[in-house]
Symmetry: D2
Subunit: 361 residues, 4 copies
């Protein structure tokens, strides 16, 4: 359904060309300072219209907090946020009313629901991710209270892959590039794809530092499983790796195992998660984004009557959906880790004695 | 927690060296024939002690159905299955009582719970997957009623990768190899790893055919997200891909998009899932298994007091955990798809009219 | 948390004196006609300012549908509805900032959250029930498609209890009275309580007809258990009965059992639910509302510093919260029954064959 | 489905005349001492064959712990418990194979599932409550660590109601009578009903003391709502009241409100719960049990072909199901309150800082 998380629970709503998109974030601990400026800043990082690789659709993406905060502080009530659509050009989609765009959700969703809001993909549009980013910002505020931090960046555009993961550099890069030496080449690849009426894929890294050991609920809500779910659910993601990821499958244990000294792990192939539970090291996730399926080249497809059609998609689309996607991955990661931090409370009987023992005084 | 699924809901229990492992599968539609022979056969495919790459621990893995079936038919009540441990050699683990095995769940779980059943990893042992396979067998029986089928096989052992995906061949291969031409070389790689007191990783393919279009619940219970969660949660899996997977991130849309003719998709990069919803094509999943972390080479580690130790792990371990892991992936995939088939009922108002309209007569 | 239901899932947000209240209703079957006029009409029935026993706060209670419907039809996406607060008089509450109102949520919520939106009870206000009623209206539209109908009425005001349950009469009664012969006396009791700066309790009946047999999920989501949860969760409800209810505890089985002839049940003590599952008869529920705790008489209480205070509550309050509460009970009942109708699909393997068999053609 | 609870999650399985009944209790905090003797003692309190008002079926009700405890301590893994059926006399039910017993689950469950385990009601039998009691015992052990205690007793048998609620007395009463002065008369009423081939209803009180203020999750997992759900879901319960309950509906606020002095509440009509959240006072619940529907008098009913039949039910049945039901209510109450204690952790940001701040040292 349209909810995610166990104790920190996100519910989103809204469509690309409707009134707007929004979310209800439930389970935010009372007393948390709700820094609206921080939330808006996170939305601005994802905002369309500003970034290489992004769509030219101009949206303010102004977050209105409708509930749950009083005098700047969370009350424990659900926090609802609404982000109005101001620059929807539904007319762009008129000719798509009866046609399924290749590699979009159009066909499969029509088979599921039998009805269709064709305008910009309706509910399936990546525009919904604005709501995820707003909620993710609040998750980050929760994580700050325990000293944990989520960062992201682009490791590769198409086949152009960097060697360096400089998350601090990525913050100010127009494409969130992790490797300063590859940034120009990566930007050029996006530009070329757009010129060719094409789009290009991307590989994104997400890192979480400061996570206490012990987060993740075995055996069916493991931290890595929940991260995989969260990121595979981001539009256009087709693969998720933790730590060494697919490379571990090509390795011997004598190479892949992380041995330990008294000072800590001697390598980090596990990516900060062992047996589905955080081990205190940095959490290392990789998400692979396919190229934006909307391209203006002619493509073969069918319409809702099963007739063959040729389509050239107009509208304003990301040349590389993975760039802005990085920010969405950050948000989803923050939501998962913050949720797990809340859920983990009570895993030891000592937790219970601590909380209720002290409150009983 | 220890449950998985929305309407077809699996709960498992048990430890490697306790009384046994078991499951409760809730939501099995009444009237389904519970073919016990089929369930046992699935367990036999995963069974230790028989297969190249597997542990030499001999377990009967006999499934006892404790509830939920009457005269061979599901009653709608939860189906509980118990698989007793008969060949646990806990003594093998005595010297591990205070030591954390590298790249195992030992350290992170101890940080989480503060107590520990050290015998064979306790709850974190892959032995629990027997319960998954038993439940997965019932999910397969449900899928049979709608003509869907789940298969799996090993695509690569370490770096030795095949070109052919012959799922029928894999069924009878001692390592579930998909490519008959690589099977011998892949077996040799496992054997060599074991001789070297090492272990090796594997890449596994899972395929589901006959899935109706429309399964998967946007936006936070997408079919691909749930599959990623299910498979990343299998012990030792470090990466999951759907369709073209990571390769899509290196591609241009003009190559990666799946165009369509009236006869169907002209390529299958999506892997049978668009916008998180099945598109009627074969579902194509890849899971990457790290090498079994238990090896008998000396490795640096620490104990529960933080002291440095050197460990050489005894016990009976899989030379390549991915081989038997393939069967577990099949089971988890079957559980996800069957669950989604149940959950999807009601996505259209027509479903409701059909069910209650006919029953009202 | 702030969500309710399994497949038809309501999430609400908002406070009495914030921007407004709202809901997200997820799982609405695609293709359902979303009759906005009907939704508004349901809200109008609960609306403050119009009804004997109600508060004099004037609110438009105008429902804005923010998402999930396209051209008047549900798309399968979550339906978000917002109801703005237009007549909040927060000033009325200034002097309550540090005082706990007796028999309100003030004290217990402050102990839970440590922070407080004191204005009109904040999130704990009955104003939130507008969101329930809006969502309940959509649940009723779903139920209409299977011929089921939810009605309610007031059986007693304080000790003044009727003998007749005329649900059709109640629709047009200013206090939703079920017994025309007691209506005047019941209205007088409310009026007197208000004159005495007091308030009075009420007993409400809810009836659902046209429910197919088979709804309710044993053993922990029984239909009666879910109804009890839903109604006990309505503000001010202190007791819930099904069928004969508390009277059954005073009876012998020979009197309480419902015998059956070929034409149906010969009595209806079960209230339409046996073993937690609907039996095809009318579902009969009773909810008992305590008197509105806000009264302007002096009452002893404490403040947030633990100091004793005397309070006389100003503001505009219902003389009998149970009157408008009946409409909220209807809404919650509709949500439960519609949810159970959706959840029940898949209880038989025949359901699955029917849905996927026909779609496969 | 067959699970209950959010963080402390019970899943049960089993039938009256199958292999046995059992449960999986997930979320038990690691480090809790699992006192097996205490668990067995709780089961003995509910055990058939020993108690006035109970069935004469003799069952050992021996609890086998299959998982989740190691060396007497909870490991954080799910605790599975199995209770074998040893005295099932399925032959007693042969003639009921095609007949629906009046006021039992038989008819409605058959309509739902289309198949039937007719032996003793199968899954719908009260025998399943043994699993609830075993799990409830563990919940009580959790509550002990925070100083909370659950007690119960019988307030009325049929119309014979006591004035005194002496929970300590009830422990040793053969019918768990709360009022020593009425006990003999109440026992006589049960005996007479049995002699008359009839059965009788009962009113049960449950009290929880030592509960910290702040438990309960507004707005849809309120403590009173969850208690109502839990108790209405117990076999034969037809009404649930909190605090003053139905009497509050007949009262004026000036009487029903609980005023407060610096020493605490001056009355207890709320029953320890305000706005769905515990207020630190004793929690006071009333459950009303209908008479056991199985009686050996001739009753009119129908069979699975819709034909009229007359039935005289044989087998061994409780003369007053409410007596043993009190113990089941205790167990369900303990599960709800312990779950809420776990869920509440994280309601304040201070909780999070406390837990992770101290562990980070």
């Amino acid at each position: 359904m349209n909810s995610f998380g166990a104790k920190l629970r996100l519910t989103t709503f809204g469509e690309s060309h409707g009134r707007g998109v929004g979310c209800v974030l439930d389970g935010v601990p009372a007393g948390l300072e709700i820094n609206e400026k921080f939330i808006q800043n996170e939305l601005d990082r994802r905002k369309p219209g500003t970034r290489t690789g992004g769509t030219s659709r101009q949206e303010d993406d102004r977050a209105e907090i409708l509930s749950g905060a009083f005098e700047g502080v969370a009350t424990g009530a659900p926090i609802a946020i609404f982000i109005a659509n101001t620059n929807a050009k539904s007319g762009d989609y008129d000719e798509l009313k009866e046609i399924f765009r290749p590699s979009h959700a159009d066909y499969s969703w029509f088979m599921k629901y039998g009805v269709r809001d064709h305008r910009g993909g309706g509910r399936s549009s990546a525009r919904e991710s604005a709501a995820r980013v707003a909620a993710g910002a609040i998750a980050k505020l929760i994580l700050q209270t325990i000293g944990a931090k989520v960062e992201s960046g682009v490791a590769a555009i198409g086949g152009i892959e960097g060697d360096i993961y400089d998350f601090a550099y990525a913050v100010n890069s127009p494409i969130f590039a992790l490797d300063p030496n590859k940034e120009a080449e990566q930007i050029a690849a996006i530009t070329k794809a757009k010129q060719d009426r094409d789009s290009i894929g991307a590989k994104v890294k997400i890192r979480v530092t400061g996570v206490p050991a012990g987060l993740g609920e075995p055996l069916y809500d493991k931290l890595d499983a929940k991260l995989a779910e969260a990121l595979m659910g981001v539009n256009a993601v087709k693969a998720v790796e933790i730590g060494a990821g697919a490379a571990a499958a090509r390795a011997l244990a004598s190479k892949n195992n992380d041995q330990t000294s008294a000072k800590g792990f001697l390598s980090a192939n596990a990516g900060g998660i062992l047996g589905g539970v955080s081990d205190g090291g940095a959490i290392d996730i990789t998400a692979h984004f396919k190229p934006t399926p909307s391209i203006s080249r002619p493509q073969r497809t069918i319409d809702i009557y099963g007739e063959e059609r040729v389509i050239e998609i107009k509208g304003r689309h990301d040349g590389c959906v993975g760039v802005r996607g990085a920010i969405v991955c950050e948000a989803m990661t923050a939501l998962v880790v913050a949720d797990m931090a809340l859920v983990n409370m009570g895993s030891k009987i000592e937790h219970i004695k601590t909380i209720y023992g002290s409150e009983r005084q």
